[in-house]
């Protein structure tokens, strides 16, 4: 597999490409009756994403988390650009790319649409799983049902890849969905990111699955590393979109006989949002590699998610506040950003979990 290296100009071009896609393809999807967009158009967005080369698969290996590059910045910039319009759509692209990348890095070669279930229980793994080469792991009960929670379902897929404990080690296994799955339980009413379907999968006890990699601890680490950085990039995108929308609104809206941008109270909110966003962007830029993800890298990614989410949540709520009552209504898209942001914040690793993990991983280093 040939890997390309990218200059800052190259990355800027990809960012611009994703930005155009965001404005021209995702934005119209949001102009519907509901602030979460018209779900019937999601398939069209994915098709367009494939044509634009943003949707990673066998043919688009330069897309988001595509296999032909080992530089995280490319994918992170593109995710932020998509999320500035719709974070739910960005999560779709992110989840697909992550599944493809783990699959190919794990030795897969089928070119199927895939789901990736990183989360082996109702919450992310404990630190010892990320360091399992020193640990004896208990195999998952062969008689029990294997359940994978909160799995993003980017498109109708033929297979699900997941990490499971086999022979005392962490293995990467592929399950065919039609044969293996006892039940797919769709997660319905929820706060945000509604453009991206989520499901719990209950996999039959007798489903053996295809073992792609017998020792996949490194891949597990890499998966979570990419996941947390990807979600952080999406948070940055939401905050950028929110701040941009707030600035535009503040230039047009009059109160007290003047545009509200001239009010000190509004300027304070905007500056606070801008500063929080800048700090989050700076932090995200420190995480660049996609090769040889060590526990130290994973710790950094966990710290990045922990901090970036806080900063971006603060930027989004400050931006929303400038809209007054209109910020709370669906028309301006700000309430959607707030909902999406708060979903991301607790998704796949809440602050409480991350703090514990960072401590435990740091103790081992």
């Amino acid at each position: 597999m040939e890997e390309y290296t990218f200059s800052a100009e190259d990355i800027a071009e990809f960012r611009e490409l994703a930005g155009r896609f965001s404005r021209q393809t995702i934005q119209p999807y949001l102009n519907s009756e509901f602030s979460d967009g018209d779900m019937s158009k999601i398939d069209g967005i994915i098709s367009a994403g494939k044509q634009a080369g943003l949707w990673a698969d066998r043919e688009n290996s330069l897309g988001i988390w595509g296999t032909d590059h080992s530089h995280a910045a490319l994918s992170l910039e593109m995710l932020s650009a998509l999320a500035s319009s719709c974070a739910g759509v960005a999560v779709l692209f992110h989840s697909n790319g992550l599944a493809q990348r783990i699959f190919y890095d794990g030795g897969g070669s089928s070119g199927l649409p895939l789901l990736c279930a990183l989360q082996e229980s109702e919450r992310p793994p404990a630190a010892r799983l990320f360091l399992s080469h020193n640990t004896t792991l208990k195999d998952e009960d062969p008689k029990g049902v294997l359940t994978r929670y909160f799995v993003p379902v980017p498109e109708k897929s033929g297979a699900l890849i997941t990490f499971t404990r086999r022979n005392g080690r962490i293995a990467l296994v592929l399950f065919e969905l039609n044969k293996s799955v006892l039940k797919e339980e769709r997660v319905r009413e929820r706060l945000g990111l509604r453009a991206c379907p989520l499901s719990h999968f209950h996999i039959a006890a007798n489903a053996t699955g295809l073992t792609l990699s017998e020792e996949a601890t490194d891949l597990l680490r890499k998966g979570w590393y990419m996941h947390w950085l990807g979600l952080s990039a999406i948070a940055v995108g939401i905050a950028r979109g929110a701040l941009k929308a707030a600035r535009e609104y503040c230039r047009q809206r009059y109160q007290g006989g003047t545009v509200i941008r001239d009010h000190d109270a509004i300027q304070t909110l905007l500056v606070n949002a801008q500063t929080a966003l800048y700090t989050a962007e700076s932090m995200l830029q420190h995480n660049r590699t996609l090769s040889d993800i060590s526990p130290a890298h994973l710790t950094q990614a966990a710290m990045t998610k922990l901090s970036v989410m806080e900063l971006c949540a603060s930027a989004v709520t400050d931006s929303l506040q400038t809209f007054g009552g209109y910020g709370y209504m669906e028309d301006f898209g700000m309430e959607k950003r707030l909902r999406d942001m708060n979903t991301l914040r607790t998704m796949s690793g809440s602050p409480l979990y991350l703090r514990r993990l960072i401590f435990e991983l740091s103790e081992e280093l």
């Binding site: 007290g256 006989g257 109270a265 209504m329 708060n342 914040r345 998704m347 809440s350 514990r356």
Partner: protein, 438 residues
């Protein structure tokens, strides 16, 4: 056999004290809710308990439906039931209302604030349904105008006790004047569109109001309009009946939360309002409006507090039932620290709200401070609750994400929290901030 740790716990350790020593320490096994309730007058205690009971029995079972499927949820049976139980008539003492006399004489809105908190624990939107009704009634009370009392306030209060109350709404916000009608400096330059032109026998009202809570379901509105084009200084409060020709309900906003209560546009096209429906005196509107806000802001704080308490209670239940490894979430120290922080924040917010309700005459600074502190705190507590629940936090069935959506509105309505902060400055300016030290 009792362990050393058990012996060291205060209830056991206190047994060794002398009788006076034991009396000086309160180690009774009471919840924080019970302790707070015990500090109240008997009448207020009664309403707090009744509201809690009503909320759990009648609001909790419908809270999810009322939010997620709010378009199909009929709120009127619930409101009628609540009215029959006295929940809509605590802005007046018997025989016309049902407020307990002693706490009412300390603060007219305190009992409403207690109900607002308890109802909002289960559903912020349903809490708003009731509090918006009180808000609609408030100008009639606060105008301090005997003819208004006799003609309108007392009959409406009486109806509020019955199974078929006349539901009220309060209408000040205009499309181009949100914060402006809640703050003096902005008010002077506000772009108002709702006008009242004098005519034979009364006034003709034209214009529109937006974001009116309960605008769709209310039967009567207290609505503010400028006289001719005279500006906010001429603002006058009118009591409008929904049946008046020319009055219609326009767009209903699609909100992030508090969805059981509609936020509607009110359109006025040559609506004739007779002289007798002027609330208070002509051109009293601005002062009445400001005073209504003084009384309503602590209630908004109480509602926010209730929403956050709901998030806390549901999270606590989750932490009790959920295991991480071989321990319940509740048994982890970092979880305990976070829960303790939430309790502290909620307690502090309640103290502010109750303090601001502790005087018969409202204090603008105390009202604004209570609203700002309680609403900011509530949002913070809801985000902390979400942290504890991880991925489950964003699922609708747990009700924590609903509390977060609901409580975000408290930082915006009744004047954004920025406007409320400036209200404190305005109130304290001459006497304290810009004055030379004495």
């Amino acid at each position: 056999m009792e362990s050393l740790e058990d012996k060291l716990r205060m209830p056991n350790a206190a047994k060794r004290l002398s009788a006076i020593g034991r009396w000086l320490v309160d180690v009774r096994p009471l919840t924080l809710w019970q302790r707070d309730t015990m500090t109240l007058d008997r009448g207020a205690r009664k309403w707090r308990k009744r509201a809690l009971d009503f909320s759990r029995r009648h609001i909790r079972p419908v809270a999810f439906e009322a939010d997620y499927h709010h378009k199909n949820f009929d709120v009127l049976p619930l409101m009628n039931l609540a009215a029959r139980n006295g929940m809509l008539s605590v802005l007046m003492i018997p025989p016309l209302g049902r407020a307990s006399v002693r706490p009412y004489l300390k603060s007219a809105v305190f009992q409403a604030a207690l109900i607002g908190e308890e109802f909002s624990v289960e559903s912020g939107g349903i809490g708003l349904l009731f509090m918006a009704h009180y808000l609609g009634l408030a100008p009639l009370l606060l105008a301090g105008h005997i003819p208004t009392y006799v003609r309108h306030y007392l009959p409406l209060q009486y109806k509020s006790k019955t199974e078929h109350p006349v539901l009220m709404a309060f209408a000040i916000t205009e499309p181009q004047a949100g914060s402006d009608v809640e703050h003096t400096e902005g008010g002077a330059k506000a772009r108002l569109v709702t006008t009242a032109e004098p005519c034979d026998g009364g006034y003709r009202l034209n214009g529109s109001k937006v974001f009116i809570s309960n605008g769709k379901i209310a039967q009567k509105l207290t609505l503010f309009a400028q006289i001719g084009q005279e500006g906010l200084d001429s603002w006058t409060c009118f009591l409008l009946d929904k049946e008046m020709p020319g009055l219609s309900v326009g767009r209903q906003e699609r909100k992030m939360g508090q969805r059981p209560s509609d936020a509607s546009e009110i359109i006025l096209q040559d609506v004739f309002v007779p002289h007798k429906n002027v609330v208070g005196k002509l051109r009293d509107g601005w002062a009445i409006n400001k005073n209504v806000l003084n009384y309503s802001r602590p209630v908004v704080g109480a509602m926010a507090l209730g929403q956050a308490r709901g998030a806390f209670e549901r999270t606590l239940e989750f932490c009790r039932e959920t295991f991480l490894g071989d321990k319940r979430l509740l048994d982890y120290q970092d979880v305990q620290l976070q829960l303790a922080e939430m309790i502290i924040q909620l307690w502090a917010a309640r103290s502010m709200v109750w303090h601001s309700c502790s005087q018969l005459r409202s204090n603008p600074s105390a009202s604004a401070a209570a609203k700002v502190f309680a609403s900011d705190t509530a949002y913070k507590v809801c985000t902390m609750a979400m942290e504890l629940m991880g991925d489950h936090a964003y699922l609708g069935k747990y009700g924590v994400e609903r509390a977060l959506r609901d409580t975000r509105l408290a930082q915006i309505y009744e004047g954004t929290n920025q406007i409320n902060r400036l209200a404190i400055i305005e109130q304290q300016w001459d006497v304290e901030l810009s004055a030379e030290p004495s």
